[in-house]
């Protein structure tokens, strides 16, 4: 039984068709590299899986359980063990690091009042031990707007690291990161794999995707146009496939425009 199965997913934004019949599976303990051009529909697909918005049409199964799209939500996804680092980072930059880390899952007492000390201490620990912020000189009370681009991305990824999940979805997580920081993210994906978890990894940097993924799914204009296991394809071949796709698409658009 796959961990996640999405069948015949369609998504319209008004008249824009973002997804047109996508089948997407993530197995237990599998790292899936989701790749494709700008606007292919990658983020849309994983946002549906994360409960941000429902599909216009299609079925979703998580751990074998059919998901009712009307009752599915980000909260429900969290409850089912799906953790997502969004391309948009999803940070409130005027708020402190600890508030951002725990947004939506604040440690609180029975009346809903925050356990601030606990939240700050846990944030501090994560910043020092995992994210290694400037040698630990940053306070968890610092507003996110005072952080560098890479540090902000660190906070966004830190959420996924802190909340143990069965499936971690990373949408362009290495944006704004230095080479060493990128290695940390790739290592995080490897530890997920070692611990028996699953991961969906979206990136335009094929070398990074190739380094950690078990399988690749190529999306183009809202459809899956290719699926390869890592042993079926080499990194140059994968690059070649994407370039060809890009060119054929440009050609089609050219023909459309000139006809």
């Amino acid at each position: 039984m796959p961990l996640v199965e999405m069948r015949d997913i369609h998504k319209y934004f008004g008249t824009v068709v973002a997804l047109r019949g996508v089948d997407f599976v993530v197995e237990e303990n599998e790292v899936v590299g989701l790749i494709g051009d700008n606007g292919a529909g990658k983020s849309t697909l994983i946002k549906i899986l994360s409960g941000v918005f429902p599909p216009t049409k299609g079925e979703i199964y998580i751990k074998g359980q059919r998901i009712d799209p009307r009752r599915y939500s980000v909260r429900e996804a969290h409850r089912l063990g799906i953790e997502t680092v969004f391309q948009e980072q999803a940070l409130g930059i005027k708020q402190s690091i600890w508030r951002n880390l725990f947004l939506g899952r604040e440690p609180a007492n029975a009346l809903g009042f925050l356990k601030v000390t606990q939240a700050r201490d846990e944030t501090y620990k994560l910043m020092r031990q995992v994210l290694r912020f400037r040698g630990g000189g940053v306070s968890p009370d610092a507003p996110v707007r005072t952080l560098s681009g890479g540090e902000r991305q660190g906070v966004a990824i830190g959420r996924a690291m802190y909340f143990e999940a069965d499936l971690v979805i990373l949408d362009e997580p290495t944006r704004a990161l230095s080479v060493q920081e990128v290695q940390k993210v790739l290592n995080f994906i490897r530890t997920l794999k070692d611990r028996g978890k699953s991961c969906v990894y979206i990136s335009h940097t094929i070398a990074n995707v190739y380094a950690v993924s078990d399988r690749f799914v190529i999306l183009d204009r809202g459809k899956v146009v290719g699926e390869y296991r890592r042993d079926e394809v080499s990194e140059p071949e994968l690059n070649e496939i994407l370039i060809e796709l890009h060119e054929s698409r440009a050609q089609e658009e050219f023909q459309e425009n000139s006809s």
């Binding site: 980000v74 969004f86 948009e88 999803a90 409130g92 930059i93 005027k94 947004l103 809903g112 925050l114």
Partner: protein, 322 residues
């Protein structure tokens, strides 16, 4: 462990405000010592300021959530009317108070639903609601006030607006208590956290599982209830209700909140600032009049103070960013 020492810099805005209040009062003492060296003027402040202050607390939440409300001064009058009528009908002050508060909650919920479920900007919805509710109040009451002298001696009257020790107005304590509770709600409760994030980055809040629509609707309900409470206690205090009640309060409430340091941009707010701002704005008029200046000066000085205070707040905020 993290250093948790009390960081004075975090409160420099509020400290600045207290200094301004001190300066203003000093100025008043110099210009009219006969008034400002006696306690009665300060007791008068405690009597008149809490109404604007309580609505200012609600407005602080609304602004923190990234929205705006123009209807609360009308809600104040409406809830006062509902309360008075229900006391008339049922003979029970308790029922009247509950009815008044509920009417405020319902108008707040309507505001929220129009804004979030239909998608009309809050400034437009609440502008319409401001006129609608004021009109409804006038139509229902026929433009006539209502006497509430029968409230004298009832327990609710003493609890809400009685004079503690014969002098100290109870509703000043209600204002203080609400400010403390709402500080905890905004900065130490999940709900407040969601309010701040909804105002800071709505998309981020959605993606992290916050139902921004509901958060904002609840904020408008809170604003409605607080405005209703202000209306009820104001009519209790004066032992009468009148249809133009609250008309002068809309802009002074905004002035209090902005002078206090809450920004228009959402995601940032200060309850302590609003508390101090209400007393600052509320103390000006009496001082200006006592100093022998004409009432014309009041607006000029309000305007001056608002511009100066907001400029200082903005510069301080910019300073924190860089």
């Amino acid at each position: 462990m993290i250093k948790t020492s009390f960081d004075l810099r975090k409160y420099k805005m509020q400290i600045g405000l207290i200094l301004i209040i001190g300066l203003v009062i000093l100025l008043f003492i110099i210009t009219s010592p006969e008034v400002f060296l006696r306690p009665s003027i300060y007791l008068a402040y405690l009597t008149t300021i809490p109404f604007v202050g309580i609505m200012g607390l609600g407005l602080t939440f609304v602004l923190a959530s990234g929205e705006i409300d123009l209807s609360f001064a009308s809600v104040m009058a409406f809830a006062g009317y509902v309360c008075a009528v229900m006391v008339d009908l049922t003979g029970s002050v308790t029922v009247g108070i509950i009815g008044g508060l509920l009417s405020g909650a319902v108008i707040g919920a309507l505001n929220g639903l129009f804004i979030r479920k239909i998608g009309i900007p809050s400034i437009v919805v609440t502008l319409g609601m401001m006129f609608l509710i004021r009109g409804a109040v006038n139509l229902l009451s026929g433009g006539l006030g209502k006497s509430l002298t029968f409230l004298i001696g009832t327990p609710w009257h003493s609890i809400l607006v009685g004079k503690i020790g014969g002098r100290f107005p109870a509703h000043a304590l209600w204002f203080l208590a609400l400010a403390v509770v709402l500080w905890f709600v905004l900065f130490r409760h999940r709900f407040g956290n969601h309010v701040l994030f909804s105002g800071d980055n709505e998309g981020a809040a959605w993606m992290m599982g916050i139902n921004v629509d509901w958060v904002k609707i609840k904020v408008f309900i809170l604003m409605g209830i607080l405005a209703a409470f202000a209306g009820i206690i104001d009519s209790f205090r004066l032992l009468k209700w009148w249809p133009t009640m609250g008309e002068g309060f809309l802009l002074t409430t905004f002035a209090s909140v902005f002078v206090g340091g809450t920004s228009m941009f959402g995601g940032e707010a200060t309850i302590l600032g609003t508390f101090i701002g209400a007393y600052l704005i509320g103390s000006l008029e009496a001082g200006i009049v006592a100093a022998g200046l004409s009432g014309f000066w009041t607006r000029f000085i309000y305007g001056f103070l608002i511009l100066v205070a907001v400029t200082i707040h903005t510069i301080l905020r910019k300073g924190r960013e860089s």
